[in-house]
Structures are given as C-alpha cells and as structure tokens.
Symmetry: C3
Subunit: 139 residues, 3 copies
C-alpha cells in the first residue's frame, strides 16, 4: 500500500521553523497504513525538512542564528547575479539540510523521541505558501 | 513485507561517532527481506545518523573538530535559557545532520562503498543510552 | 514491487556538482513503478546527494564556496595522517550532506519544485567514476 498526503503551510521565510509533526501524523492516520516508511518532502529549493526539539529558543532563535553565522546573507552569491535576486544563501542552506526526511512507521506511530518534532525550515527571503508531501508506503 | 529492528547503544556523548554498520546489517538479515529500502533512524533531538569512513582520524577527531568549530558549545543559545541546560549546540548539530539515512537493499546487502560505514553521532553533553530503529520495507 | 537502477557518472571532484535529475527519472520510468518512494544513493564516503536549483551560479560557484569556507581543505585533518592523503575535508563534507535523498513518487513523477534538481556532489580531491543507485519501491 502507498498513500500521498499533502500539507499546505504559510511561512514567513527568513529561516522560519514550523513544527509540522501534528499535520504529518494526521496524514499518516488518513493513510490507514500501520507499518512501513514515511517520507516528508518539500518541493522547492529554498526550504528543508529536519527534526528538532519544538522549544521557542531553538525554533525562533538558535537555528536561524546558526545559519546566519555560517551561511550569511550578506556575502556575494553568484546565484544573485544570475537572477538579480537576494536568496543565494537560502539555496545553500536548503541544499545543506536537505528536502526530505525518511521516518519509520510502527504500529501507526512514528517513534520520535519525547522532545523530537518534524519541522519545515523556510529559508527564502519572503513569506511563501509551501505544499509539502507526506508519502507513506507499507501495510 | 516490512520489518522493525532495534539497536541499543551506549554512547559517551560530546559528538561521539559510533560505527553501527555491523549491527544494522544484523537486523537487515533478521528481516529476511532481500530487496527494498532500509531506514536507520535515531529517536531524540541531540543525535544524528550519517555515513563516513570508519577510520580513527575521522571518527575520533575530524568530525568532532568540525562541529566544535562551526557549531561551538561556548556561544549563547536561547535553548539553554529555556531549560537552564548546556546542550543548545547539540540540538543545532543534530538538526543539521538529520535523524535518519535511507539506504537501498539489494539482494540482501546494502551497497555501501568499500570504506563507507553507517554511523550514529551522539551530540549530547553526556553519555546516553540510545535505541535506534532499523526499518526495512521490500520483498 | 521494487526496482534497482544504476547510473555511472564521471566527475571532476573538488565539490563538483552534477545535475542527475534526468538520469534519475529515466531509471524511475524503467522501473514501471508509478507510486511509492525513490532513494537516490551514492556508494562512497567522499560524495553526497541533495537537491538544488540547477543554475550556474549555485552549481559552479556558491555551493563550493560555502564548503571551502566552512570545511576548508587547508587545515589539519587527522584522517590525512592515517593515510597520508589530502581528502579529510572531503569526508567531513560528505558526512555533513549525507549519501542519499528519499523522494516521493506520485503517478510516475517526482514532485520536485519548478527549479529543484537532484544533484551529486563529488567532494573528493580528484576526478572519480561514481556508480549511483536509484532504488524504487511501490506499485
């Protein structure tokens, strides 16, 4: 069996971290699949999927501060010459983290740690409407 | 067919890199599944899964030195204000690398490169007991 | 159903970014599988798979510039003492990005964003012949 769920999310960009765990689980439950694999995927090249603790310090500050320090937005990117835009850093950050996460599905649940949540990070330089895919395969 | 294997590992934290390839393969063999996908997943938000060469320079020094340089433990993290703890950097490192790796399973084997090993990295600031999931789907 | 496709690619190393989207899709079409999951995997510990916009600024400059800045090739790596080689940074970069990406397969297509392409990054310090795996499971 396989199932495709879709999530639509409004982001504010600028490394906005959104906790999508409950929305992902809702799609997994709709799938009626109990055991297998879940792939959470974001189409687009300026956003990424990972997991983190859903605590305001990390969600609203520490992750963004890391990316701002290590992939700054105020150094030259040739990408910005190509398009005369301003989001070269957004693309590099998204490629670094990656567009998807693969998760086990066991007896109808994803065995996340007690504090672990699935998150979308939108690295673009403006708010975006993102449509994510929750793909489930199994039985 | 689908199979759930579990690995229990004692780590020493502080970006401890543990080669889990043999333990993963043992679970894959127990699954009796010969062809499909394997997802190795660590529950928790201060550890990650990736692959690397299992050579002492990388395992015991170079990977940790990279994280110490790029995601230092001695800069302020708001996460630490929330909980009065000391592992803000552990969370950022874990989100960056990611909690799982998806691998092909072909004729009973994972086609890793000659020097490529599956590793758990425990970024927490103390030793932890980690229970990993080896999820297999296929035939 | 499951299918294993293989791609052979010649790289020039040194963080060479190769757009492999069309070659991945060719294997997916050969699989005759319409819905499920695709795992694109690179055997080896000095290369990685991710997605990015396939635009010359990013492909030929910005991604490499990021890695050169954050995981430099001219600082000491103990890996290089072990083997008397020069690719410690290649290993760290590859572990950071990861050896695979998991993607949904829906009605015969991978729902990539308009500008999003699947890429191999070869971080080794010489040109390499890489054999990638495109593993598909589904119906």
């Amino acid at each position: 069996m396989r199932f495709t769920g879709r999530l639509t999310l409004e982001t504010s960009g600028h490394s906005h971290v959104l906790d999508i765990t409950a929305a992902v689980m809702e799609q997994v439950q709709r799938s009626k699949i109990r055991d297998g694999l879940v792939c959470v995927f974001v189409p687009g090249s300026t956003a990424a999927i990972t997991t983190t603790e859903a605590e305001p310090g990390l969600l609203n500050h520490d992750l963004r501060a890391f990316f701002d320090r290590v992939v700054p937005d105020d150094i030259p990117y040739r990408h910005e010459d190509t398009w005369s835009d301003d989001n070269g850093h957004s693309h590099v950050r998204a490629s670094l983290v990656g567009p998807s996460v693969a998760l086990p599905l066991i007896d109808g649940a994803i065995p996340l740690g007690k504090w672990q949540h699935v998150v979308l990070i939108d690295f673009d330089t403006r708010g975006r409407r993102r449509e994510l895919i929750v793909q489930v395969v199994g039985e």
